[in-house]
């Protein structure tokens, strides 16, 4: 019974992550896409923990831990290295602010 409940919750979370995939496709700004990826990453952590409980695989907790740590890396990279002022002119600065 509990296993069914866990699997149902995992499936629901995965379907919910699908909405994030739609946002990645639709945009419109890079920040929207990055946040959608973070939403999917967080959902994946919950899915992994639920699967770990449902299938009785304690190793999945480690995978979830890794997901949580690496999500921070992706965001930090985005704000420092992707969202940069590539050209020092004003239009690029404006665009970076809007994007």
């Amino acid at each position: 019974m509990t296993t069914t409940l866990y699997l149902a919750a995992a499936t629901l979370l995965l379907a919910n992550a699908g909405v994030g995939a739609w946002r990645i496709w639709r945009g419109p700004t890079s920040a929207d896409r990055m946040l959608a990826a973070e939403l999917i990453s967080t959902s994946a952590i919950a899915v992994l923990l639920l699967l770990g409980a449902a299938l009785e695989l304690p190793a999945l907790v480690d995978v979830a831990l890794l997901f949580a740590l690496l999500a921070a890396i992706a965001t930090a990279n985005f704000v420092t290295r992707t969202w940069t002022l590539l050209h020092e002119d004003r239009s690029a600065r404006e665009e970076a602010r809007r994007d």
Binding site: R33, A37, I40, L60, D62, I73, N77, T80, T82
Partner: protein, 307 residues
């Protein structure tokens, strides 16, 4: 049962959609983000296939470090790309030939996979597990029974570092578009966690999913976080270059030393005597994890430091 079918179906549809977006999407940033999410879902697929070891490696390398590399590379490209170059007429037959070769290779690989013995070598590995010095089958195969494959993998990574560094001096990063006052604090708070998790994965490798590759990748990801805030200036200094290179090669050197030591003691290349197996494998794991972590950071410099 119907539920797990629904879960797997959702996973498969999501994977194909993201792969399509990565390859044929018109927006470059969306393609990179799709690739990162593809890595996450791929890790879930490995979990569903009962392969938590591969899920760990995929999560650490596929979704984490590769995503970071692609995001940084994207930041260096011009915002408005040049129009795509169309194929010239004489290139068409070449393209068709490449497509046909790839298709034939795929069919051949499928045929070989179909012909593989079932249920595999799990029973042979389990019967030899006592002599390998570790209690987890995957680590036993990776570092003892098929240690040569892992040695060559580490050699390939070292070659890749040499190739990236041969492209030119390390790149300077551009200033971020907004002020980021929280980033140094985040790094100082998070980096100890990366060290802790990496040590935990390394220790766990001897009896459960984990081991040198995920541990090295996590340590490397923590190192990338340090590079983002310029917290490792020694990597760029002239007098540390020799030490840096020695550490980069440490994993491969340790592997080779153990393999040659086996040749001297037992007469067979890479034969590890059972009483020595446990400490030797631990030594290989520590050296390889350290090397892999530094290699991840070395890729991230996008060029040779100290030049």
């Amino acid at each position: 049962m119907a539920l797990s079918w629904a879960f797997d179906l959702l996973l498969a549809v999501g994977l194909i959609w993201l792969a399509w977006q990565t390859l044929f999407g018109h927006h470059r940033f969306a393609a990179v983000v799709s690739f990162m999410v593809f890595g996450l879902l791929m890790a879930l697929v490995w979990v569903r296939l009962s392969a938590p070891d591969i899920a760990l490696a995929e999560a650490a390398i596929g979704a984490g470090v590769t995503g970071a590399l692609l995001l940084s590379a994207l930041g260096r490209l011009p915002r408005h790309p040049e129009p795509r170059h169309l194929l010239r007429p004489w290139q068409r037959p070449l393209q068709l030939q490449a497509l046909a070769a790839a298709g034939m290779l795929a069919v051949w690989l499928g045929w070989v996979a179909h012909r593989l013995p079932r249920p595999g070598l799990a029973r042979e590995v389990a019967s030899d597990l006592a002599a390998t010095g570790v209690a987890h089958e995957v680590t036993a195969v990776l570092l003892n029974l098929r240690g040569l494959d892992t040695l060559l993998e580490v050699a390939v990574m070292l070659t890749a570092v040499a190739l990236v560094w041969s492209l030119g001096p390390a790149l300077r990063s551009f200033a971020p578009a907004t002020a980021l006052p929280g980033l140094p604090a985040l790094t100082h708070l998070l980096h100890p966690l990366f060290l802790l998790v990496s040590a935990y994965l390394l220790w766990r490798g001897s009896h459960a999913p984990g081991g040198a590759f995920p541990a090295g990748a996590v340590l490397g990801a923590g190192g990338v976080l340090l590079l983002l805030t310029d917290s490792v200036p020694w990597m760029h200094r002239e007098r540390y270059q020799r030490r840096l290179r020695a550490l980069l090669a440490a994993g491969l050197m340790m592997f080779l030393a153990v393999a040659l030591g086996g040749l001297l003691i037992t007469g067979t290349f890479f034969a590890i005597p059972t009483p020595l197996a446990a400490p030797l494998i631990l030594a290989i794991e520590v050296a390889t994890a350290l090397s892999i972590a530094l290699m991840m950071m070395a890729f991230y410099l996008y060029g040779e430091p100290g030049r």
